[in-house]
Structure formats: structure tokens, C-alpha cells
Subunit: 253 residues, 2 copies
DNA sequence: TAGTGGTCTAGACCACAAT
DNA sequence: TTGTGGTCTAGACCACTAT
């Protein structure tokens, strides 16, 4: 019927986007059945394997679920808030319609503390580049960010980069580093004097502390980011999607 | 060469496990190249499409990365700590070799507070089942857990279930509910009197608070879990894996 | 029994990287 | 030029669900 034409974009990806927008627009409601694989295959003039590739991506995003013998359905969640995944923290805010202002407190070379060196896979004491920034929204301080990265990369980053963009944007788009996994650990801590002063909080106020280790696709550490959030103005959210894989080999329950 | 035989388990899944164990055992080191798709296809007597399905799963797990024209490689991360994904929080601890003791403080029906009702998609004031538990490790209180779920399910859960298993285990294995997405939000809060007394902490001590909304594959809310961790004894970790998808349609930068 | 998704095959051509 | 992964096709058979 309505074939996919743009051959510079993979067919499965075009279909993904079509189905995504059908879902976003509400044309297909939660719990409603999608056309079958065969129908989609015929409607768009592509093979069933290609249809399956598109559907698999949407399932792993949590937009669709499938039942063998029944069909493919839209998740209830599909129309709710869509969380952003693995983008800069700042994007979370952008998506809420606020524009954070970023002020740079420090950008210099320091000798790597043990924890940083450990994460970066370098000997302690080696020089690394450290950035300290404060992010504010509507004039109120929200978070203190401390980034450590190897000087080879750190020296190629300008102050302007870091007031205009997130560190993740700079790493990917300016330095062209293909990023892979980010490991984050989240803790509740008490504000110390430095954090309290930067965030205009009181000492001993609860602070949400996030340590992020950013890696390349190859798994090589690129950066360690320590972020301190005022607990009253930020919460960290994640969506975890279950791996619905059958056929476990040896159930060690 | 060495064919895959067990036809009750999908071929791609068997290959996944073989490759996983090759990586775990250190037989294939980080950054080393894996056999090509064609070689794997011949070695195990399966088609290239099936090989690709297995490799794709390992890539999405962060164990492998692929470069067009170069090959498939093992991630550095592959040999590091493997984080558990989307299991009960208790599993995190089990994997660290500790056995938590769980004590039930309360298991009864209450009228749903607004926040809970909102998450569960029911009118406020409706009866829901509430469980309160304290989890301790080696005699020291670690966390306070408060679970709310619709009575239809809550009443089928015994005290014994909840001292022996995680709530997620009970939902999946006992109640046989296929779980899909879990949305968690993490905050730093101050301990109030109740939390402080249960966790043997001081009022105003920092507490890591996690609100989890558990859903079925269909996206229907099943449970809201509020967990309060002593900040000095727990941190929350996640691994986010970048969607390495090219061919963005309209870059709205 | 008919219809759905789940698995699998044996090809083909392309884009990219190394030589 | 060769070899790699990326995309795509046109089938086949199976497992599960509904009727």
C-alpha cells in the first residue's frame, strides 16, 4: 500500500518511526492490537524479517508487548511520560521546559585522586583535567558538577563548550567519542561546607550525590562525573525494562 | 564443527551462552576480536541470521561492540563487576554474598493514599494491601520497605513469602505475573521519626529513598514500593547502555 | 482449524575498513 | 581488492491462542 521510499534510512528504522508516531498520536490506543507482522509487511512492501526488527526495537523500548498466538499490543505506559535515556542530566530538565544556566568555577589540571585514577584506569597522581560547575535554574542553584578526565581530552574542551552543552554532548559531538555504557551510583549524603556554599544550602542538608563513570563503546573509561544535587529540587529516575527471555538453561534458584 | 544440539532451547540462545562463558572464562580477552559471523555460522552449523541474533543480544548487554568493516570485539567492562538488572533489590546483596534477614512489621489493608492510588490507577481511598518490612544484614538494620498493592494480589501473599523472597520474586514466581517495566525514582531525604526508629538512625540523618512502580508487560501497575535505605550502608547503581543507532531522522539540536 | 508470533535458513547486495 | 558487519528478501516450520 504505502511503501517506504527513503533508501538512505534503513527500512526497519523508518517503520519504527511510523509506528512510534502512530502510538504517540494516540491513533493506536494502549492495549489495542497492532496489525500483524504479515499485514505490516504487505502494507509497507517490506519483508517480515524487517518488520520484526522494527517491532523488536519498540518492544525493548517498552512501547509494545507481544504474545505468541495473540498479537502485538501497545503498552499502557506508551502514552505516559517518556523518560529520556542515557543523555546528559541537563536534558532531563530541557524536556521539562527549563533552561539551566551554567557557571564555571574551575577548569584546571590536578593530580588524580585515588578513586578517580581507579575509575579511569590510570596510576594515582597522574595529571587530569578537572572542571567544577554550578547549574542553576531561574536563579537558584540546583547542582554542583565536578568532572575529571584525562588531559588529552580535557584540554580540548573550552569553557564555552561547558556553559552551552552537557559534558556528554561535548564528548560525543565535539570530541567525536562514541560512548557506550555509563555506570552511575546514587547516594544520599550530607552537604559539606563547599557543597553547601555553592548550592546555597545548609551544612547537613541532604544531598543527592551521583557518581558517573562514562565509557566508550569499547569500554574504555572517558570521564568521571560527580554531581551533587539539592535534594529538594531534584530526583533521579530510571526505567528498567525486563528481559523477557524464556528458555533459561540452569535455573539456580 | 561443534554443532548445537539441544533443540528445546533456541539456537541463538545456546550460542549466546557459549559466547558469554567464553568471555567470562577469559578465553576471549577485552578488545580481542571474536570470530566473524561467517565463521561462527560455520563452526556451529547455524545460519548467519541466527548468529546475528545472538550477537545483538550480547551487544545490548554491553559485553560486545561491533565496528562495520572491522569485526566484533569484547568490551573492557566484560570482565568487571557484572551488575544485576531489574531483579529485586535484595538480589544485589545476595550477589555480594550477604544474606539479609527480613522482619515483617505490618501486613494489612489500608485506604489508598493519593500518591499510591495515582500510581496504581485506582481512585484514592480504595482499599489496598500494605506491607511494612525491615531488612537487616548481620543484625544491623539496612532498609525499611513499604509495599502497596491491590488487595486481589496482596491477599494472596503470605508473611512467609515476604520473609523468604523479594516482592519481585513473589509477583513473578508465585503470582505468575509477567513483569515488564519498573520505574524508579531516587531521592535524598531526611529521616523522620518512624524511619529513624526502624533503621536505628538519628532523625535528620540522610536517607536514600527509592519509589518503585512495578508494571506488568502490558504496562498495568502492579505495585508501588517505597524503600528507605540508611545512606551509610547502601548506594544505588545502574548501568545505562547507549543506543548506538545511526540514521536519526530530524536532528532537532 | 486458522491465525498469531517465534525460530531458522540460504541466499543477496551494500557500506565501511584494511590492504 | 578483500573481508567485515549492516540491511533485506522470500521462503519454511514450529508453538501457542483462539474458535
Amino acid at each position: 500500500m504505502s511503501d517506504l521510499y527513503n533508501r538512505s534510512v534503513p527500512l526497519y528504522y523508518q517503520l519504527e518511526n511510523i509506528l512510534r508516531s502512530r502510538i504517540d498520536s494516540g491513533e493506536v490506543q494502549p492495549h489495542h492490537r497492532l496489525p500483524t507482522e504479515q499485514e505490516l509487511s504487505q502494507e509497507y512492501g517490506i519483508s517480515r524479517a524487517t518488520v520484526r526488527q522494527a517491532l523488536a526495537a519498540l518492544v525493548s523500548e517498552g512501547l509494545l508487548y507481544r504474545k505468541q498466538g495473540r498479537g502485538t499490543f501497545v503498552t499502557e505506559k506508551a502514552r505516559q511520560t517518556r523518560t529520556v535515556k542515557l543523555t546528559g542530566f541537563t536534558e532531563d530538565l530541557f524536556f521539562q521546559g527549563v533552561k539551566p544556566e551554567i557557571r564555571i568555577l574551575e577548569a584546571r589540571s590536578v593530580s588524580a585522586p585515588e578513586r578517580i585514577a581507579g575509575h579511569l584506569g590510570i596510576p594515582p597522581g597522574i595529571e587530569v583535567t578537572r572542571f567544577k560547575r554550578v547549574r542553576s535554574v531561574e536563579g537558584t542553584a540546583l547542582s554542583l558538577m565536578v568532572n575529571h578526565l584525562p588531559p588529552a581530552w580535557g584540554q580540548r574542551i573550552s569553557d564555552r563548550d561547558l556553559t552551552q552543552h552537557t559534558m556528554l554532548w561535548v564528548l560525543e559531538e565535539k570530541l567525536r567519542i562514541p560512548l557506550g555504557m555509563i555506570r552511575q551510583s546514587v547516594e544520599a549524603v550530607k552537604a559539606d561546607a563547599e557543597i553547601a556554599s555553592h548550592l546555597k544550602a545548609s551544612v547537613f542538608d541532604p544531598i543527592l550525590y551521583i557518581e558517573s563513570v562514562v565509557q566508550t563503546v569499547e569500554g574504555r573509561p572517558v570521564e568521571v562525573a560527580d554531581t551533587y544535587f539539592r535534594a529538594d529540587r531534584y530526583k533521579y529516575t530510571v526505567e528498567l525494562i525486563r528481559d523477557r527471555r524464556l528458555a533459561k538453561p540452569a535455573p539456580a534458584r
